[in-house]
């Protein structure tokens, strides 16, 4: 297996180099997607399947889709500048590489981190899987803030997305639509499964949300912006972006009021509350990620914008 790991590491380095050094933007994006898959593989090798899942879904899948969508909207460009070799650059970074290697060699290999501590408190956590316990109970505040980060990333994108008109070429036939139709229930199922399994084994809200988002992206590509057609109310959409975060935090505040501290749960109800939070968080993540891809803008903003301009 050492050979495999070594090859994987080399491959990751090679792909990273190719992604950054390529002159063709499209090639860079494709290589980047491949790089994400290889990194996911590396996570698997490090026996962190949840990280692998997240990397594959978000780092490679959704980020790749976002990059491709952006690429389709900008002028084709190739970078023709000749890059001069810089001695100072080479010197500094080879020095850094050596330094990093030397320093990493000093890190004790048997580091258990907080694992003992976590295991000791699992019985009170309401869930059996250590990662989920850390994410949704011991360090719930981090996760809540991460949800906020995701929401604010979307708000930020929304603020910048001034004239978003996706250019997708129409396709003949209904192969894609049919495919999407068949796939959607499966995606829902997988998402729900990942979410449910998170309580005891690797999985959880982020992975489930990412998978759901991927399904939504495929669906939106196939049907060209279903949400514009008004199938879902704007309000539902917008609530879904922040719902996960606010439910999480509100439950945290209830914890403060009940005396278990901010972002804490009464141990008896912990399991149920965590499940509730995870469901809402999954939906939030899914809709936020999907919205980022499809550049959803609600009609109200568009209307007021055109008012201002006129």
């Amino acid at each position: 297996m050492l050979v495999f790991d070594g090859l994987l590491a080399l491959l990751i380095l090679g792909l990273a180099w190719r992604a950054t050094s390529s002159r063709d933007l499209f090639e860079s994006i494709v290589v980047f997607i491949a790089l994400g898959l290889m990194i996911a593989l590396a996570w698997v090798r490090l026996s962190a399947p949840d990280a692998a899942l997240a990397e594959a879904a978000i780092g490679s899948g959704l980020a790749g889709a976002l990059l491709l969508a952006t690429w389709s909207r900008i002028e084709p460009q190739t970078d023709d500048r000749v890059r001069a070799f810089s001695w100072s650059w080479a010197l500094v970074f080879s020095g850094l590489a050596v330094g990093l290697l030397l320093a990493f060699a000093q890190i004790p290999a048997d580091g258990q981190g907080m694992m003992d501590e976590v295991q000791a408190h699992i019985p009170q956590a309401g869930v059996a899987h250590p990662v989920t316990a850390v994410l949704l109970n011991f360090r719930a505040w981090d996760t809540a803030l991460e949800l906020a980060v995701l929401a604010w990333a979307w708000f930020a994108q929304q603020a910048l997305n001034r004239d978003h008109t996706p250019r997708y070429q129409a396709l003949d036939g209904e192969v894609l639509q049919t495919f999407a139709k068949w796939l959607t229930p499966l995606v829902l199922l997988v998402g729900a499964y990942l979410l449910w399994r998170g309580a005891t084994e690797p999985g959880g809200a982020f992975q489930a949300g990412a998978v759901l988002a991927a399904g939504l992206v495929i669906y939106s590509l196939a049907y060209q912006h279903p949400w514009r057609a008004g199938r879902l109310n704007d309000w539902v959409w917008r609530l879904s972006w922040v719902g996960g975060f606010w439910l999480f935090v509100m439950i945290g505040l209830v914890g403060l009021a009940m005396g278990v501290g901010f972002m804490g749960y009464p141990p008896a109800q912990a399991g149920g509350l965590i499940l509730l939070i995870e469901i809402c968080a999954t939906l939030s993540i899914a809709f936020l990620l999907a919205a980022m891809f499809s550049g959803h803008r609600d009609t109200e903003t568009l209307a007021s914008k055109s008012n201002k301009e006129s």
Binding site: S86, S88, W89, V92, G99, A103
Partner: protein, 565 residues
């Protein structure tokens, strides 16, 4: 007994409030008229605390605001009270005389007057270094507005030199204060008074304040600024502000621990040098105000000499009162004399008062020159007596020379004043009364503290007599005015430049130099512009991404490897 400690802040906050009020345009026309009222809290404090001081002479008024600035302390003790008295009287009389300033920009005069007043009163009560520095700067910098007020060429020249030296002094003082504060770890002046610190910090403080006092070479702003300023402003410049340097030396330097200072011998000698220097140069003046300015330098010599032996004595605090008394004496008389120039110059409408005015002028001149049984003579005699046991003694003849030269200056002053061109201006009676009262006070105040005796009458009369004889002899035998334009050093410098430029054989060369100068100026402007542009573009180096990341990596290496060293 009433607690007056709050007034320690009011005395300078109140004029600041007035100054702030002048920001409102509708108040501006009343600016000058309001000036005397700016002294109200100071007057209340003076009366209130004066009674307490009469009851118990060691009482000290204190106010502490530990959270304001780096810990603000204000206090008023006997010494401060003397200084407050002289400030109050001179500023008050000057405020009443300020109606001589009648131009459109009178409100600006009022503004700078108020700011300067606030600083001047504030530094008297300051008991921490930062408040002293701030009030001192406020006073110095705001006085620039008084000097430049009349805006004619000489005022502008004077103001330029004034601000140049004032800022230089500020800088020295500031660095010195920071150095001393850093070393002592406190800005509390009561600790500063007892603890010495690194010599160069002390030297910088000394130098910074020496500018204000007008120590020779650093004095050049003084004979330019005093004649250029409006008359009441000259009175405060010479009566009060110049003495801020003396109290600054006393407060900021380790006055209680000065006895062993190896440079101390310099002070008495510097004092005498200043006395003679100011006197001799003053005799060469024709403008009575310039003459008075040099006389002030000369009188500062007495204070420098005085503080020189105060630092040697075992009880500096007690001795300092003598110096303070001398400062008080000089403040009243010098302010009175400057205002006298005004009364003579703007005299036309008070014709029937003029004999009285002249009488007062001569009285003031005699007081300063050391008329027996008057404050000048009494103080000088007492100071000489008290200083008899000081370590660094001066020959008596030198001090005598100092006194003689003061006498000569006063004779010259009265003669020059009589030739002054008259420009009529009206002024109400209150000002005249205040001036007469000032002169009266200058005449009688010493008798409240000292009893004149007949023992010294001979030695007291000596300098005055010599001066009269010398002046008469000069009048009969030589009868010539040796003229020197005010500002000696500056004048020499400027004159030398002009002279060189006018030398015939050098004229062509000089012309070429001038042309070259113009060319050079253009060229350097061009160069500067090109340099600016290049600097502006140099930022591209940091903007370059590759460089940015390289810097980042280099810094990482630097911090990461720092444990190797």
């Amino acid at each position: 007994m009433m607690d007056f400690s709050g007034m320690l802040a009011m005395i300078w906050l109140w004029p600041l409030l007035f100054a702030l009020g002048l920001a409102w345009p509708r108040l501006r026309p009343y600016g000058i008229k309001l000036l005397p009222w700016a002294l109200l809290p100071a007057g209340l404090l003076w009366f209130g605390f004066g009674w307490q001081l009469l009851a118990d002479s060691s009482v000290t008024l204190k106010l502490e605001w530990p959270n304001i600035l780096v810990g603000t302390r204000l206090n008023l003790d006997r010494l401060g009270f003397v200084w407050l008295s002289l400030s109050l009287i001179v500023w008050g009389v000057a405020a009443l005389h300020s109606r001589w300033v009648q131009d459109v920009y009178a409100w600006r005069y009022a503004l700078f007057f108020l700011l300067s007043l606030a600083g001047s009163l504030g530094l008297v009560v300051a008991a921490d270094a930062v408040s002293f520095y701030l009030t001192f700067s406020l006073m110095s910098l705001a006085a620039w507005g008084l000097v430049i007020h009349e805006r004619h060429a000489s005022a502008q020249r004077a103001a330029r030199w004034y601000i140049l030296l004032a800022i230089l002094g500020e800088l020295w003082l500031f660095v010195g204060i920071v150095a001393r504060a850093a070393e002592l770890g406190t800005t509390d002046l009561s600790i500063w008074a007892q603890t010495s610190s690194a010599g160069w910090g002390l030297a910088l403080i000394w130098l910074g304040l020496a500018v204000k006092i007008g120590v020779p070479i650093l004095h050049i702003w003084l004979p330019l600024a005093h004649p250029a300023a409006p008359v009441p402003a000259s009175a405060v410049l010479s009566g009060v502000m110049i003495k801020a340097g003396i109290i600054g030396w006393w407060l900021l330097l380790p006055s209680q621990a000065m006895a062993n200072n190896e440079w101390l011998w310099l002070m008495p000698w510097l004092g005498v040098a200043t006395m003679l220097f100011g006197g001799v140069l003053g005799l060469m003046q024709t403008d009575p105000k310039a003459l008075l300015a040099y006389s002030s330098i000369s009188q500062m010599g007495w204070l420098i000499w005085g503080i020189g032996w105060v630092w040697q004595s075992a009880q500096p605090e007690w001795m300092m009162l003598w110096v303070a008394a001398f400062a008080f004496h000089h403040a009243l008389i010098k302010a009175g004399l400057f205002l006298a120039v005004g009364w003579v110059k703007f005299s036309a409408t008070q014709a029937r008062w003029m004999p009285w005015v002249w009488g007062m002028v001569i009285l003031l001149a005699l007081l300063l020159a050391g008329l027996p049984f008057s404050s000048g003579a009494l103080l000088k005699a007492e100071m000489k007596q008290v200083s008899a046991d000081a370590l660094y003694q001066l020959p008596d003849s030198l001090l005598l020379a100092g006194s003689v030269i003061t006498g000569l200056l006063m004779i010259q002053f009265v003669r020059r004043l009589a030739r002054l061109e008259v420009q009529p201006k009206t002024l109400e009676k209150p000002a005249l009364i205040s001036w007469f009262s000032l002169v009266g006070l200058a005449l009688i105040w010493p008798y409240a503290f000292m009893t004149p005796s007949w023992d010294n009458v001979l030695s007291d009369t000596q300098p005055l007599l010599i001066a009269v004889v010398f002046a008469t002899a000069w009048r009969i035998r030589v009868n010539r005015q040796v003229h020197l334009a005010p500002g000696d050093g500056v004048v020499w410098l400027e004159a030398a430049g002009v002279k060189i430029s006018q030398l015939k054989k050098h004229q062509a060369w000089w012309l070429k130099q001038q042309q070259y100068l113009v060319y050079w100026r253009l060229k350097s402007q061009q160069k500067l512009r090109r340099f600016s542009k290049r600097i502006y573009q140099a930022e591209r180096f940091f903007l370059n991404w590759s460089n940015y990341v390289t810097w980042l990596g280099a810094l990482l290496l630097l911090v990461g490897l720092s444990q190797v060293f």
